[in-house]
């Protein structure tokens, strides 16, 4: 007996199987819409509004709380910059956990946007001899200084260049963001980032519902999915409302400074003009907007 293995029959069967799977899975129109959703940058105002409305409903069903998801665009005439005073930082890691809370980062598997590196004063800024695992009774430890590293918000972000689907881009206010719905999880951007600032959701992100921050931004701290990349956005949900990022507000020694690089009267511009400033891995010419300085 001759088996029918023709291309025609294969296509016939596969299409039948697809349709029946779709029908059987009972997936609702919303999930279907989300699947077919376009890149955030190409969405119209109406499309954005309806997507956000659906998201708010979805989150309410899932977590039993009211959420506010914003899609506020960049404020005109702003370019965000950040400065961190290396002479003040004591390495207490308060910023790390304030960030986790503000940005709804997965607790397990653990994701931290900020990694505080302990370095030896004798060696200077030397990544090879630094550690993030220090855990003494009290900080700062004698003979060491601390360099917190997070997304450096490069002016020439290579994570953006390598993205094969344009799921990540630089906003007009300089913040590099990710469209979690568009990200395919290829992790090219993680390989391209020399600061280790991008993080992949290897598992379903786990955030206790009672600890969820309900003030969200579509490109920022809304709940992520498994299999997408995320990163620090200078707390886009706060920065675009005029507020300081969470890490700035929590810092007990006032080492973190944030502001508008286009405003000549801002703290950040004062630092650039009056202090000794450096950027990490300057030789790569990614031109970070995250500066380190020595205040005293």
């Amino acid at each position: 007996m001759k088996k029918e293995n023709s291309r025609r029959s294969f296509i016939k069967n596969i299409s039948l199987a697809t349709f029946s799977a779709l029908a059987l899975s009972g997936c609702d129109m919303k999930a279907f819409d989300a699947f077919l959703q376009k890149n955030f940058k190409t969405l119209s105002k109406n499309e954005k509004d309806s997507i956000i409305k659906n998201l708010e409903i979805k989150y309410k069903e899932k977590y039993g709380k009211e959420f506010h998801v914003s899609d506020k665009p960049a404020i005109e005439g702003t370019l965000f910059g950040y400065a961190l005073d290396l002479s003040k930082c004591v390495g207490c890691r308060r910023c790390v956990y304030a960030c986790v809370k503000e940005n709804n980062l997965s607790r397990d598997p653990q994701i931290h946007y900020i990694e505080v590196l302990q370095m030896e004063k004798e060696k200077g800024i030397d990544f090879a001899h630094s550690t993030a695992q220090y855990n003494p009774e009290k900080v700062p430890e004698k003979g060491y200084f601390y360099v917190p590293v997070q997304c450096q918000q490069c002016r020439k972000p290579q994570c953006v260049t390598v993205c094969p689907v344009k799921a990540t881009w630089q906003e007009p206010d300089g913040i590099v963001v990710v469209d979690y719905n568009w990200c395919i999880g290829c992790r090219y951007c993680m390989a391209a980032c020399p600061y280790g600032a991008r993080h992949f959701n290897w598992g379903e992100p786990d955030v206790p519902a009672e600890e969820l921050n309900t003030e969200m931004h579509y490109l920022g701290n809304r709940p992520r999915m498994k299999g997408v990349v995320e990163k620090c956005t200078f707390c886009i949900q706060r920065a675009r409302e005029g507020k300081y990022p969470a890490c700035v507000e929590i810092c007990p020694v006032g080492a973190r400074k944030f502001g508008n690089l286009l405003d000549p009267d801002s703290e950040i511009r004062y630092i650039l003009e009056n202090k000794r400033v450096l950027v990490l891995k300057q030789e790569l010419n990614f031109q970070p907007k995250f500066y380190y300085f020595f205040g005293s």
């Binding site: 370019l79 004591v90 881009w169 007009p172 300081y244 020694v253 690089l261 286009l262 405003d263 004062y270």
Partner: protein, 211 residues
């Protein structure tokens, strides 16, 4: 770029058909090398224009826009220890003694921790002998406790300058609007100003510990 790749495919493919398995011989043909060179050259040029599009960010020199003049608010001076202010409640009953000495009966808690150039200074370098509810500048001018930062600034002028522009110390609130700043004494104990050591939050999970 896409057109370039297509061109290469076209050339290679055509030749492949002509020569069948002896395709690689064709590399000797300088025509193909030229085509490759041209494609690469123009391809790179195209790439540059794509990059420019990607990095569309306002130029700092062009922009130079001022955000609205920031409004600053001092937060309340930190509270005194319970029942210690006004100082005159007790001091009114004692005759003022201007000579330097070790305090034993009262304020011994302060003398125990006092570490602020203690070799050369003592209480009455900052507190006024006759008006106990006031601080005193080196010039003798009396100063309210709310303005203590001026007293600190006598010696720490550089810090005061940085603090005024928001670089030393912590500001909270809005980066483009209402800001709150802390006074020196919110973070530094004036009698022992060195920053206290802190217990660090737990370190991140090691990669090798992830199950």
């Amino acid at each position: 770029m896409k057109e370039g790749i297509f061109l290469v495919h076209l050339i290679l493919f055509e030749k492949k058909f002509n020569m069948k398995d002896k395709f690689y011989r064709n590399i000797k043909n300088p025509g193909i090398l030229w085509a490759l060179f041209i494609v690469l050259f123009f391809g790179c040029n195209n790439m540059e224009s794509i990059n420019k599009e990607l990095y569309k960010v306002p130029d700092e020199k062009e922009g130079n826009k001022k955000t609205e003049k920031a409004i600053e608010y001092a937060v309340e001076a930190p509270p005194f220890s319970d029942g210690i202010f006004p100082c005159t409640d007790c001091h009114a009953n004692f005759p003022p003694k201007p000579e330097r000495r070790e305090l034993v009966e009262w304020h011994d808690d302060i003398s125990a921790i006092f570490d602020h150039d203690s070799e050369n200074r003592w209480c009455l370098d900052c507190h006024d002998l006759n008006n106990r509810d006031s601080l005193k500048l080196a010039s003798g001018k009396l100063l309210d406790f709310k303005e203590s930062y001026k007293l600190c600034g006598q010696c720490h002028g550089e810090k005061l300058r940085d603090w005024k522009v928001g670089v030393h110390g912590k500001r909270t609130g809005e980066w483009n609007g209402r800001k709150e700043y802390l006074l020196c004494v919110h973070c530094h104990n004036p009698h022992s100003p060195k920053f206290e050591e802190l217990k660090p939050e737990p370190p991140p999970v090691r990669q090798e510990d992830i199950k």
